[in-house]
Symmetry: D2
Subunit: 325 residues, 4 copies
């Protein structure tokens, strides 16, 4: 089927490629002209702007917006809404905050336009492996787009089906899921990313404990010099902590077990923050997900005001001098 795609970065471009390969017809646009030309050369139809993109699609139209969350997505959705007609569908495949989805869907439906939010996991590996998708929106629109989702999803592959799933939604087994009304797709993806932060931090802390087992602060007969890359590799094979993130960790550690190329200043996207905020709204204790987020905050600072205050208090009550040299 036909699909318009706006935003041809790392994710949007690969989505177009995967769809084209599966026989779908993509009309693509990006403010970066080279990206449009590149994809046009790969069999997609390049558009010269949003209006042109809309004009090149047959009704009912479906346009996938794959842009940074916040301003860029908001502006594009608004502009598209003015160009589209009742019966058309806007898909937000980025990382929007789910409350923005709820608001947009409620507003667009008044114009007869359906809004579908798709949380997409798989990163740079998605082109090859397929994308795991969590989808929110009205049933009719999600069903209409099914060929698109089926082509983007990884499919059953070699991953065994969980026992007892007989008779349940087949789409889930292909790697995509209609989670509920608009916003629910990005909500599930948001929590997915919150969990991802937690998993990453669990590995990071564990490997740091392994790494520093050779610390001279320890008694000499209790020190071990451990091989980080071998540990990651062996755990991939039959252990309880095996996972895709561990596979990736093994790749990084095998390349350079000092990880010397990375300074250790770790970015955070909105989803980690929103997950903690959702936990607070629901009065759910989310110690691990919060701690994982805070570690990233801390990683980007040299020293915090709070730490200086600790030193200042220690100086006041104990005469401990932790002064600048």
């Amino acid at each position: 089927m036909q699909l318009g795609i706006v935003g041809l970065g790392r994710m949007g471009g690969n989505i177009a490629r995967r769809l084209t390969k599966a026989g779908h017809a993509c009309v693509v646009w990006d403010r970066n002209e080279d990206a449009v030309k590149g994809l046009a050369a790969e069999g997609n139809t390049g558009a010269s702007g949003l209006a042109d993109l809309v004009a090149r699609l047959d009704a009912p139209r479906a346009v996938w917006v794959m842009l940074p969350a916040g301003g860029p997505t908001e502006a594009t959705v608004t502009e598209l809404a003015a160009l589209l007609a009742p019966g058309d569908i806007i898909i937000d495949g980025g990382n929007s905050f789910y409350k923005d989805d709820i608001r947009r869907a409620a507003s667009l439906i008044e114009q007869g336009i359906a809004y579908v939010d798709v949380g997409t996991s798989g990163g740079v590996w998605g082109l090859e492996r397929g994308y795991c998708m969590m989808i929110g929106g009205a049933k009719a629109a999600v069903d209409h787009l099914d060929p698109i989702f089926a082509a983007l999803a990884p499919g059953r592959g070699e991953i065994a089906l969980t026992p007892g799933r007989e008779g349940r939604d087949k789409r889930v087994e292909q790697g995509y899921m209609h989670a509920g009304p608009a916003g629910s797709g990005h909500f599930v993806k948001m929590v997915h990313n919150g969990i991802e932060y937690g998993l990453m931090q669990a590995y990071a802390e564990g490997f740091e404990i392994l790494k520093h087992k050779d610390s001279t602060a320890l008694p000499e007969n209790e020190r071990f010099s451990l091989d980080m890359a071998d540990i990651a590799e062996v755990w991939r094979r039959g252990s309880v902590v095996s996972s895709w993130l561990l596979d990736l960790t093994a790749i990084a550690l095998t390349k350079d077990d000092t990880l010397g190329d990375f300074p250790g200043e770790v970015a955070d996207s909105g989803e980690g923050r929103w997950t903690v905020m959702a936990a607070i709204e629901e009065a759910v204790s989310a110690e691990v997900l919060s701690a994982a987020l805070y570690t990233r905050f801390r990683s980007r600072q040299e020293h915090t005001f709070g730490e200086k205050m600790l030193s200042a208090m220690r100086f006041q009550f104990g005469g401990h001098t932790e002064f600048k040299k």
Copy 2:
């Protein structure tokens, strides 16, 4: 080759079975006579006691102790040491504290007995899938036991080799690793379990946030009723959070997505605690691993003294009455 096995519970019994299937000759003993009889009927040699077990092995003997950490393991290692001769090997395959391994190895080597500690991951699935093993001890002893480890390990299987491993230790690719001197096997396994706690807690918090998204405390248009089992299943397929623990979670949620059979009082084994203590000794910040441990502590109490103290303070300063009804 020949191996003595002491302790025929869930783990020890399956280890004997997997070794016998691979053509090794196991002499087994347990204080539970039925366990001995059962394994004897499956082709192992049953012994009537530790002395008998030792007598039935040819020198140099190797005895695998698979008992609960602490008292039972300590007593058996001590008793075995008195029965064995220089050149023999004691293997502790349980979950001993690595400092106990260091102490035991130093003491046994004075008698010429080698001590090998094996951290074993794989749980009840190990019989079929093989065991991931982290091994500490002197090189000669570990090399001597290689046929045993090779038979217990999962082998390469379908898990792709990490790029760049060419020329590195082949055993690691089979799922077992000689980590270093005595104690290092259990140390790596200990951190493995610490990470396991963290991973489990990350999923647990995430699913709890998903579950309570239908809370009536939320604005009505922001509530979703989400399908826990479908979410677990879809994330197994192409998402960043896919893992073996998620596979197992999907099994549990597909069977009963309320998890109503489980009261939620979660045990902790020594390794989670020791991992946090190791972090403190090394001055490593282990927020996530600690929080995962503390959640288990808290899960086993009705209400804590600390929580009552919070209520008491609130009553004192604010007149807030959080009294017993």
Copy 3:
């Protein structure tokens, strides 16, 4: 001077009392007629409704709203705004979210009405000890209300002045502070409460560790049976952890060191949550303040879905049976 007071609960009533005692003239109203009658009998002027209250004040009028944050405060501020005239002042002395203050102040100033937000600490002890106040709003309005604030504040008392404060704002030394524009008063109060959660939790954890030092899980020669009330009392005298919260803790523990009247289900007001959300917005790591909040969330549940999931995973990989009895 004259002040209207709306909301005569524990806080509003005592504020009227303290002001009357200081010679100010309060016109009071509450939807609870008995509360109005009671305060009228103590020398305040009772009003029969908001309109009557406004009518009984001379311009420029000042009305102190002391109601639960959210709906009740919002409704009253809106209603008052319709009754008041340019030059009048609305004071929100409750625990409003500071972003609501910012919004309200921006809206009211278009009508010429000033909005002042006052974060008030001191609890049920404030009548006697005075209230610590953190004030946000335009300078003219805050200055106009100074006699009110001065009467409510504790005053210098016996608390020594911090060295180096010569020449700084004298109001601060009396226990009240003009923090900045509208919203800043409640923001500072919000963080105050976030810190309060953290301090309370630090004591709660410490006393719980002291309490359980007699646990039979410990080696017999490492057990102590410690006197909670004596420890609280002795720490009030010269120790680094002395504080007003500890004074209150000592009162509670001296009365009943089992705290048996308190079930341990601890409420949380909005401010603890908002503080964590503010930390996230600012990318500040707030481990302790979050943990203190989460402990309260957890205290109000029997068992969490997350904990059941941990048991379910343990059953899946290890055969650990943590089933319902």
Copy 4:
């Protein structure tokens, strides 16, 4: 009465001074001869070594050891034990690990020597304000030393007695407490310091949130530029978070509200670590005390291996480039 004091640093020297001022006779020694000379000039008797110090005391002798915990204290206690006679008392006033106290007391009592452990809080202010003391040891020895403790303690002063204490141990009201058998004094002091870490961290996080409320990452109308020193000062006066630590914070912030002299690398003494370890032994959830400890660990590192691992994983799955510049 007579007291030997070994270790004349910041704490030991002031203890001698406070005792001499109260009419007690101190025999002092330190390996630093100038410290001995200085205190001799202030009315104490200087000794030339441990043997000389013991020789200058009348039986039953009491010697207060005020040295760094671990090696120095252990060596001195051992040496003293060889010089003393049955009926004598060794007092460890430092920050020893309470399990060392239990061990030493059990060993010394075989020689008839009593061992008393004194946890001492008050820091550099103790000379003037007195020391809060938590004492462990046999009743006879603690009672014998009462004149010493009474002179070191702050006394009742102006701190009101907690209601309901009538008929309870009067020593507690003077600021010292016989907590229980040997080790219990240092155990209570250890938890005291654990709480201290938590309290400090709560303030530190709160002030950091206040400080960064002017961050340009926030919407412009939600930014406040707040006065740190004024906030600390106002909270000292009637607020729920008033405490001695806040008094000290106010001093530091009034002097320099940027705290620019402090780099923010915060040391930790053993007691914070031991408190968390005690919590783990007792299966008590100690989120806040752990987080406070971990913050200090983290403050002393530039970037952690764990943080680099997070970047490495992000690069692997998302192509996120957080490389070294």
